[in-house]
Amino acid sequence: MKYNVVISILIFCSLSSCRKFVDPGSPTTQLGSKVIFNNEATATGAQLAIYAGMESGGFVYNVILQSGLSADEFINYSSASEDINFALNNLTPDNYAVSVSWTNLYSFIYQANAVLEGLEGASNISSLASQQLKGEAKFVRAFCHFYLTGIFGDIPIVRTTDYASNTLLSRNKVDDVYDFIAEDLRNAAELLPENYLGGNNRPSAQRVRPNKWAAVALLARVYLYQGKWQQAETESSKVIAFTSLYSLLPNPDKVFLANSTEAIWQLMAIVPQINSQPGSQLILKGRPALVALDTAFVNSFQLNDSRKVSWVNSVTDGGFIYFYPFKYKIGQNVSVVTEYTMVLRLAEQYLIRSEARANQNKLSEATSDLNIIRERAGLAPLPVLPLADLLRSIQNERKFELFTEFGDRWLNLKRTNTATSILSALKGSNWASTDQLYPIPQSEINLNRNLTQNPGY
């Protein structure tokens, strides 16, 4: 009997110590999400991680490179069939580079949703900081959906981190995606302050966290894409009117400097040895490894356009001249940071407003907006033209002002339904109108039976 008692006690003790033994606690180099969102600095770190991911991952460069090849900005020099297929508009659903954009953007969306959900239960964070972070997260979520729909057309809207429901999402119509984006941006504009904040959530001269105007500026663009001319005009006007922060720089050479007065939102240079992503990848020192600017595009600049002088450069190698974008002047192996990757800038707001006004038949106001951009480029102002000509001029101006910036050219060709007429002339039989949308990555379709493929793939 005595033995039984002793044995029972022994068994009990060993079992309970066993329970403790196999509890490893938390890993020492990581933090639980509850801890992260219970502290302002770490919660802010969770949001800033998204920008760090955008700047350091392939996302920025991929969008610029791929859409530049798909449109008419770049000539391909790579022998990798994945790159060749962008230039030939011959993408296949297993193209790895296509899936990278998809993956990057959706993982940023996950992070933004995780911030939004993490802040819901957080009690230790000031409501001001919480509001700021929620605003940023919504902005990022909208921004990423904007590029996803721009690249792939109909896409699933992802509102939560719940994988169980997300894994079965089907594609939402482009119009619904834009409505969702606009809604997020309106919320973000309300939540975000007018000035820029630093890493400590205090006002800062660094324009590398989106503020209210970043949300408004992107909203203006979304309304433009939706053809909501009046709203587009209203929103872009708000940004243009906020002259205490934003003004066009007379010298195009200075536009892409860090925190230039034209910058509405930039990504901070954080990768060692480089400044901006586009600068580090696109500036050539010899024959290109991947791409060079299309000579036809370079030759299509008007005489006297100071942007051709400031923003295009060339290198001669083996008797051939190769052009490259020179908006960013700093290439690789540089340790002093003077340039940031530009995401949103004021010049585009003028072009948005110009187009929005033109479509509301405010032709002279539209022309004056357009001329602001032309004059900065050293070009003569245009007279007030008939609507169709004016719209063509605005598109033309976008082409020269915003080339190799976040796929603006490619997205606008598609938005204005001019992709087929312009590109089929250049690309011949390789072009099909279904090439406007990239294929949904095959691996995604394989894992989610509700996803459908775009036509033509």
Binding site: T29, N90, Q111, G286, S335, E444
Partner: protein, 1076 residues
């Protein structure tokens, strides 16, 4: 004199014996110089001993009567010196062959004894006595037979004895004993396969009485193969075990699967246990992924020749005592132990050369240019500098065989193993040291160097109640490989530019190509140190109780460097150099106290084992990259980088605890019953799910011991057994139940950034594998032929997997249980036959064959799961849903496919309905050994029937692109009406390009990859003769080894086993092995 003739004989064996001379030192110095004045004889003896290596044997009484010696000699022979020393002494002396000088008083001189008593003991490899062995004294009629304990005695044996040992279950052998009065004779006796001892979980068992299914290979079989990775030695030898060598580079991953794939997604590795301590099965390579495009195998950090045996535990009875870790089988690796007896030195050395075992037939320049021109003509496009640099910018008369240039070099391998062992009945020791170097077939200085050392100590108290085993082994492995597998570049155009420019530097041909040799300076170096230490102590309390405790510690650390110098890139791109640095360490501590009880009452025998396990594994890793180097020569230095980025950091604790028990009950050695149970706790599960129970039962019936079959020499052994039980799997990674954030690689605005680590699931629980088996084991003709047949039937439920998710969820997967049920069943056959056994001849054959089946039995909600496009209910897990290839349209010359959904277009997944089964349907091996006199030949064939594997297409683009092609594309479509299976050549026709994309994802991308491979050939010649035996040798042989000498396969690609990686190496080596 005899010694001298011995020496002459030895000289003829050349180098080998030279070794021996070096090791035994200057003992053969025959010239003696002494200058003494009235020195006591005893001291003179010491001087002579030092110079001659001879030992004097004498009594103290003899010395007291001796006179001091005055002597001056220079460079005199031993016999002369001895004559002088004993000139006026009252002493006589005799010298013996084993270098003794026996000194005796003249007065007591008796007739020299011509005989003496000789005792001995016959022990097997495990040091256990063997009965019934016949021992004869050579040259006489004296014969003795060993008793139950293995002891034998010759009351009157002559001097200078050579024993001839023979027995029913062993090869006859001879052993020189000399004059040793008590000759402890260690004889290596082969016991019959049935009675070989095998290591099992927490114990040992013989095959005859085992209820679990265990397969085993011994050191001898491992040593026949010139391999570095001991796991690779299992290939083709064990039924139910699939071993796939993934690449021909040194150290490359070997995948191991026992009895099929139990888990849908991951965690299909067996549990590996080295001397009682779990060893990691996952690669040690971290974020750089490994060299030559493939991860390395952790087992490469063991020395194959340190291993005494590898046991593979297969069924429930053998594995369920490992509970949560036994689901995929258990592989026990046991290292060598010291052997009682005289101190022995063994040396084994070999060296060889090798090259890749298979090549592809690719187009030559003429054919290639014809293909390209035809492609442009077909497309109606004019070649330009940008789309046809091979036709317009490159020299069209060049021809380079890129297979020869990039993977065609001869590689070298050299291995040296040494060991020293010995000990008394109470304490035995073994010390081993080894070196191995293996280079690669790539251009450049690549390869692997491995140093290893180990020590093993066994001690028993005099009363044999207490025993202790201590062993420790260390391996230092340095592996240097190019980052890329250069076999991926063999598709370069045959007229691609020359590698070197006129100035000797790499040629970039005006930046029109990527020089494949640039990749050679993209070096991946890993240095791994592996230390395994364990101690095992047992004490027999009495009354059948024994207490045992084992404890162990392993430490594996890997340091990795990935160099990306500027020379990797075309200089005109202006890229900077960078260097990656990785450090990883895994340290495991384990303790396992056990109590056993054994009792026999009449015909019943009961054995009980209870024990517990506590294990703690701490894994840390740090990965950094240095940027902004000013010189390519400083890339091993992190300090020289102008900026440093930390991009990986882990600090993981894995803890594991369990209690287990096993009950064996035998009745009359005829009925064998075993029950096991285990309760396990693992830190890999969330709070409520950490503990689980596992158990098994097995019954065996040796029906040949029933009266109706007893003592039947034709049907000599028969056992039927049935086992069933459960096991689990915790190979899911750590902390998967936590919602975690980790610091990001970059700071932003001065803040540390935090990224979510994973999708988490706090609720996942244990997956269970139910294993069942029926097995018949038989022995025929006095067990000369053994034949076993088994049927296994394993089902896995509550699948715990890293569930694949579409990336739009933010991650690629989450750990969770899914309601899927998988069945792995199959037949295993083993045949072992000693077909011929004569004095000069012997021939044995062993063969194994496995017919595996795999089936997805049920999967609730498969249609709505991530796996709906991968698996089909009722089919194997090894299927691919692909497009159905129809033909090359004779009109358009393009590939066409079956339009399953009849929508006039081919799209995924609707038209990916052609199900291709890619599983192996049969595999096994055939081994045969033939001995003729002193020659021994052994061959091992490995074979597999795998009707469908990914063929060459994965390596190639659409024919007509700027890339070389296999010659089989010459059979392409050329004009309307042509009927063929290769579509028209095209460079840029989008339809042809898309058709090729579909083709590569269609069932045409899979083809027969069955193969028969002469995996190993081993030929040895035994040099041992009486003279060598007298000189102290117990083993001396020359051998030739060949690996992967011949592969027969219809596979369309490089190699049916490694497929998209470097083919296995065809290796031929020669060497010597001596023991003395």
């Amino acid at each position: 004199m005899q010694l001298l003739s011995n020496m002459q004989a030895m000289k003829s064996y050349g180098l080998l014996i030279f070794f021996l001379f070096l090791i035994t030192g200057g003992g053969w110095s025959q010239s003696i110089s002494i200058s003494v004045d009235k020195l006591p004889l005893e001291k003179v003896f010491i001087l002579i001993e030092k110079q001659s290596g001879y030992n004097f044997i004498y009594s103290t009484e003899a010395m007291t009567q001796s006179k001091p010696v005055t002597l001056q000699v220079k460079d005199e022979s031993l016999s002369k010196v001895l004559t002088l020393c004993f000139r006026d002494q009252p002493l006589n002396y005799t010298t013996t062959d084993n270098k003794h000088v026996i000194v005796k008083l003249k007065a007591e001189e008796k007739p020299v004894p011509t005989s003496r008593e000789l005792r001995g003991k016959v022990v097997n490899e495990n040091g256990e006595g063997v009965a019934g062995v016949t021992i004869a004294v050579k040259g006489t009629k004296l014969v003795s037979v060993s008793d139950k304990k293995g002891d034998f005695i010759f009351p009157e044996a002559p001097l200078l004895v050579t024993l001839m040992i023979s027995g029913a279950e062993m090869n006859a052998q001879e052993l020189y004993v000399g004059n040793d009065p008590f000759a402890f004779v260690h004889v290596k006796v082969k016991v019959g396969t049935l009675d070989e001892t095998m290591v099992i979980a927490y114990g040992k068992v013989t095959r005859r009485y085992a209820t679990g299914t265990v397969a085993s290979i011994k050191a001898e079989e491992i040593s026949r193969q010139p391999i570095s990775n001991p796991i690779a030695a299992l290939a083709g030898r064990i039924s139910g075990l699939q071993i796939v060598q993934r690449s021909g580079v040194p150290g490359a991953l070997v995948t191991v699967q026992l009895r099929g794939q139990n888990s849908l997604a991951n965690g299909n590795d067996p549990l590996y246990v080295v001397d009682g301590i779990p060893f990691p099965s996952a690669t040690l390579n971290g974020q750089f992924g490994g060299g030559a495009g493939i991860a390395s195998s952790p087992f490469n950090n063991l020395n194959a020749s340190d291993i005494e045996s590898i046991e593979v535990l297969k069924d429930a009875e053998a594995t369920s005592i490992y509970g949560s870790r036994g689901a995929n089988g258990v592989i026990l690796i046991t290292t060598k132990k010291g052997i009682q007896g005289k101190t022995r030195t063994s040396i084994r050395f070999y060296s060889g050369v090798g090259a890749i075992s298979r090549r592809m037939d690719l187009l030559n320049t003429k054919q290639y240019l014809m293909m390209r021109r035809e492609a442009f003509a077909n497309d109606g496009i004019t070649p330009t500098n940008s789309n046809a640099k091979d036709l317009l910018l490159w020299d069209t008369t060049r021809y380079t065989d890129w297979q020869e240039e990039l993977i065609g070099k001869t590689m070298h391998v050299t291995e040296l193993n040494t060991s020293l062992s010995g000990g008394s009945g109470q304490t035995q020791f073994l010390i081993r040291g080894a070196y191995r170097k293996e280079t690669t077939v790539f251009p450049g200085n690549f390869g692997e160097e491995k140093f290893s050392g180990s020590m093993n100590l066994v001690h028993q108290s005099i009363d044999k109640r207490f025993s202790l085993t201590f062993s420790t082994l260390g391996v230092h492995n340095k592996n240097i490989l190019p980052r890329q597998d250069l076999s991926s570049q063999i598709t370069l155009s045959p007229n691609a530019p020359s590698i070197y420019a006129a100035d000797g530097g790499l040629n970039w041909e005006n930046s029109t190509w990527t020089n494949p040799l640039a990749g050679v300076s993209n070096v991946f170096r890993s240095i791994t140190d592996n230390l395994i230490t364990n101690i095992s102590m047992s004490y027999r309390i009495g009354r059948g109780f024994e207490l045992k405790t084992t404890g162990g510690y392993t430490s594996i650390t890997t340091k990795e460097n990935l160099l990306t110098p500027r020379s990797v890139f075309d200089p005109s791109f202006g890229f900077g150099a960078e260097a990656g640095f990785g450090n990883k360490s895994i340290k495991t501590l384990i303790a396992e106290p056990q109590l056993t009880y054994e009792r026999s009452i009449k015909k019943a025998r009961l054995a009980l084992l209870v024990g517990s396990t506590v294990q703690s594994t701490h894994q840390t890793a740090l990965y950094q990259v240095g940027l902004g180097y000013t010189s390519d020569d400083l890339l091993y230095s992190l300090k020289s980088a102008s900026s440093i980025l930390t991009f990986g950091e882990t600090d993981i604790l894995y803890r594991y605890a369990g209690v287990f028990g096993r009950l064996n009950f035998d009745w009359d050695k005829k009925w064998l019953l075993t029950f096991t149970m285990r309760r396990d706790g693992s830190s890999r599960y969330g709070t409520g799910n950490r503990f689980a129970n596992f158990g098994s039962a097995g019954v065996g019936w040796i029906f040949t011991d029933e009266p109706f079959l007893r003592n039947n020499s034709f049907f000599s052994f028969g056992k039927l057994k049935v086992t069933a039980g459960t096991t689990g799997n915790d190979q899911i990674g750590d902390y998967k139940y936590l919602d975690l954030y980790a610091p990001g690689n970059y700071r932003y605005l001065g803040n540390t950034t935090f990224n979510p680590v994973q999708l988490f699931n706090p609720d996942y629980g244990w997956e269970q594998v139910l294993k069942r088996e029926v097995r018949l084991e038989t022995g025929w003709l006095k067990n000369r032929i053994l034949f076993n047949a088994g049927y296994y039937h394993n089902t896995t439920t509550n699948q715990l997997v890293s569930y694949s998710l579409p990336l739009l969820t933010g991650f690629s997967g989450v750990v969770k249980n899914i309601p899927a049920k998988i069945r792995n069943n199959g037949f295993e056959f083993e045949l072992n036959g000693d077909l011929l056994k004569a004095k000069r001849w012997s021939w044995s054959v062993s063969m194994n064959l496995t017919i595996p089946k795999n089936k997805l039995l049920s999967f609730e909600g498969l249609e709505s799961s991530s796996y709906s496009n991968y698996y089909v209910l009722g089919q194997s897990l090894f299927i691919v849903k692909s497009y159905g290839y129809k033909e090359v349209d004779p009109a358009s010359g393009k590939y066409t496919f079956i339009d399953y959904n009849q929508d006039n277009g081919i799209s995924s997944p609707a038209d990916e309905q052609a199900v291709v089964n890619i599983s192996q349907t049969l595999y096994g091996g055939l081994q045969s050994s033939i001995r003729y006199g002193k020659l021994n030949l052994s061959v091992l064939f490995q074979f597999a029937r795998q009707p469908n594997q990914q063929n060459y297409l994965g390596r190639f683009s659409s024919p007509g692109y700027l890339m070389n092609q296999p010659t089989l594309v010459l059979d392409r479509w050329r004009k309307p009406g042509d009927v063929t299976d290769i579509q028209r050549f095209s460079n840029s026709d989008p339809d042809a390009g898309y058709a090729f994309y579909l083709y590569r994802s269609s069932n045409a991308a899979y083809s027969d990859a069955s193969f028969i491979r002469l995996k190993n050939l081993y030929l040895s010649y035994n040099l041992l003769n009486d003279q060598l035996r007298h000189a102290g040798f117990s083993d001396c042989q020359l051998f030739v080894q060949g690996q992967n000498l011949l592969t027969i396969s219809r596979y369309k690609g490089l190699d049916p086993e490694t497929q998209s990686f470097l083919p296995p190496i065809r290796l031929l080596s020669a060497g010597v092995q001596v023991t003395f």
